[in-house]
């Protein structure tokens, strides 16, 4: 049977886990920011620290977007179908350009005849 003590223990463990993870993340962000300022770390942990610092910086942008409702991370234009159509439109326009240039060359030849 689940007791109040069990729930408290679970929540305490949950809180401790978060606190430890948060401290670890903050330390990584601090190390990452130091690396950005020119201090080098020559192990692979540097990548994780750099990433943590970047994520921290992006968090502020996300906060701003959520507050102002300006999230533009995914637009309708990102859909593969629309991208394919846009690409095809460009190819047609490019082909038209080639035809226009060829047309001019043909006119030049015709003028010489």
């Amino acid at each position: 049977m689940l007791t109040n003590t069990d729930v408290m223990k679970f929540l305490t463990a949950w809180e401790l886990l978060h606190e430890t993870a948060d401290e670890g993340l903050k330390a990584a962000i601090a190390r990452g920011e130091q690396t950005t300022q020119g201090q080098m770390a020559s192990d692979r942990g540097a990548f994780v620290d750099g990433l943590a610092a970047m994520i921290d910086a992006k968090k502020e942008v996300l906060k701003d977007e959520l507050t102002n409702g300006t999230d533009a991370s995914l637009t309708e234009e990102d859909s593969p179908a629309i991208q394919a159509v846009t690409e095809l439109r460009f190819e047609v326009a490019e082909l038209r350009g080639r035809l226009e240039s060829m047309g001019a060359a043909l006119d030049a030849i015709a003028a010489k005849l």
Partner: protein, 472 residues
């Protein structure tokens, strides 16, 4: 006089011209070689400095010998895989500025390609060129048409009648002159290639690539198509632009495009005076380069000060798409990994991933090479702004000394990165492009790391490791 004797006298005159040109080339090269040898105290200065002296004299000899050699030098400047870095970086300083020929000489080229008088093709055409190089000259003109008419280019906004244009025209005879010079130097290059010390430069191959690139550079339609593709690739980018091509007025010898007003990088302060954020644009240029290489797989490989403009409406305008580098899809990730490892100063990882790009360091050399690269990273990246040029020079020198062959694409990439840094620092000398590279490569490497297939393959091992850490 019979036909045969006409032909005999022509070929005799041709042979005499070639022999005279060959003697001139040999004389200039020999003169410069002796000058370099004297300045290098006949070999008594250190190797690096000696190479710098010889490279400078070779560059000056190329400038003295004219268009074919200037183009050859430009080719050397993008081949760090073949030549020592001192030569590669010295050739950047080649000046391809020649005295313009009058419009009356150029007029037949334009009119011949379109079969109409110049006055019928353009509403106005300024006879004074705004640029003059060994292969082409550039003029200003305006678009002809009825009032209210527009031309819609494949990319970019429609151009109204009267729009300002830039018209690039191939100089008559330039291709033939360069081809004649190639014919003259081919036997000399073959003779030089028999010298064992020069064989590793593979000069005949360079010459053959030179002939191919010349053919492509002398067909301006190719440049126009590349420019359109670039404009399309960056169509949604708020800070990048390239001039729209006017195809009905473009041909093999003529490329007509929108005229873009702007400042070259050396005049960025003037742009700032009217409110342009030049510092931001200079840093942003590094991001544009990363996107070209690691996302699109094709990049502008001929960037220099005069191929970039800062526009009054806060854009970077890319010009002159004569030389493009391409990256295969399967190499983009490896490039991102090498760059990420470099910006995070992880020499071992950089060397490991370089192997996927064809730069293979044999097992026995690996510890020494990794130590040397790590030491180089320490020297060039430990102060701000980090010195990408110094790193590239040092890296290529290490590979040169260790006799590790650098693949062409890898060399081109390193060189292009150095040029990007040079362009950014021309605006502000303290701009650190490694910061831009860091953010871009970190995001890209993370995207590769989080691919579902990769995660699926690695999750069992990750859980094992986590369990071992928690329980063990």
């Amino acid at each position: 006089m019979t036909m045969a004797s006409h032909s005999d006298s022509f070929s005799r005159a041709h042979r005499i011209r070639r022999a005279r040109r060959r003697r001139q080339i040999v004389r200039v090269i020999t003169k410069r070689w002796w000058r370099a040898a004297a300045r290098a105290r006949f070999g008594f200065v250190p190797l690096g400095r000696r190479r710098e002296i010889f490279a400078q004299q070779l560059r000056e000899a190329f400038e003295e010998l004219g268009p074919a050699f200037i183009k050859l030098g430009q080719l050397i400047s993008i081949r760090p895989d073949m030549f020592p870095p001192q030569y590669v970086f010295e050739m950047e300083n080649l000046r391809d500025a020649v005295t313009p020929v009058p419009l009356e000489v150029m007029r037949p080229v334009i009119e011949g390609d379109f079969g109409r008088p110049l006055e019928e093709l353009f509403a106005s055409f300024d006879p004074e060129p705004i640029g003059s190089a060994s292969i082409a000259q550039v003029y200003r003109a305006t678009l002809r048409g009825e009032p209210g008419e527009t031309y819609t280019p494949p990319t970019g906004a429609a151009l109204p009648t009267g729009a300002e244009l830039a018209v690039k025209v191939i100089r008559p005879g330039s291709e033939a002159t360069i081809t004649a010079d190639i014919a003259v130097i081919t036997p000399l290059v073959n003779a030089l290639n028999r010298i064992p010390a020069l064989q590793r430069f593979n000069l005949p191959q360079l010459l053959s690539e030179f002939s191919e690139s010349l053919a492509s550079e002398c067909d301006l339609r190719i440049e126009g198509r590349v420019s359109d593709r670039f404009a399309f690739d960056f169509r949604d980018d708020p800070y990048v632009m390239t001039p729209s091509i006017v195809w009905p007025l473009s041909s093999k010898n003529v490329l007509t495009m929108q005229y873009v007003e702007g400042w070259t990088l050396g005049h960025a302060r003037e742009a700032e005076a009217v409110g342009v954020d030049a510092r931001f644009l200079a840093t942003y240029g590094a991001n544009v380069f990363m996107k070209q290489v690691m996302v699109l797989g094709r990049f502008h490989a001929d960037l220099h000060q005069s191929n970039l403009l800062i526009t009054p409406d806060n854009h970077i305008c890319y010009l002159d798409f004569g030389i493009m580098g391409t990256i295969a899809d399967d190499q983009k990730e490896a490039i991102a990994q090498v760059l990420a490892a470099t910006v995070y100063a992880d020499a071992k990882r950089a060397i490991d991933y370089s192997a996927e790009l064809g730069l293979v360091v044999t097992h026995d050399k690996q510890p020494e090479v990794i130590d040397q690269v790590a030491d180089l990273m320490g020297r060039t990246f430990s102060h701000m702004p980090r010195d990408v040029r110094g790193f590239a020079m040092g890296f290529l020198s290490i590979m040169n000394e260790q006799r590790v062959s650098v693949p062409r694409g890898f060399g081109l990439l390193i060189k292009a990165l150095v040029v990007v840094e040079g362009c950014a620092q021309m605006v502000y000398s303290d701009i650190d492009i490694v910061d831009a590279a860091k953010e871009f490569t970190t995001e890209l490497v993370l995207t590769h790391m989080l691919r579902p297939a990769r995660l699926y393959a690695r999750i069992p091992r990750a859980i094992d490791a986590a369990m071992a850490e928690l329980i063990g």
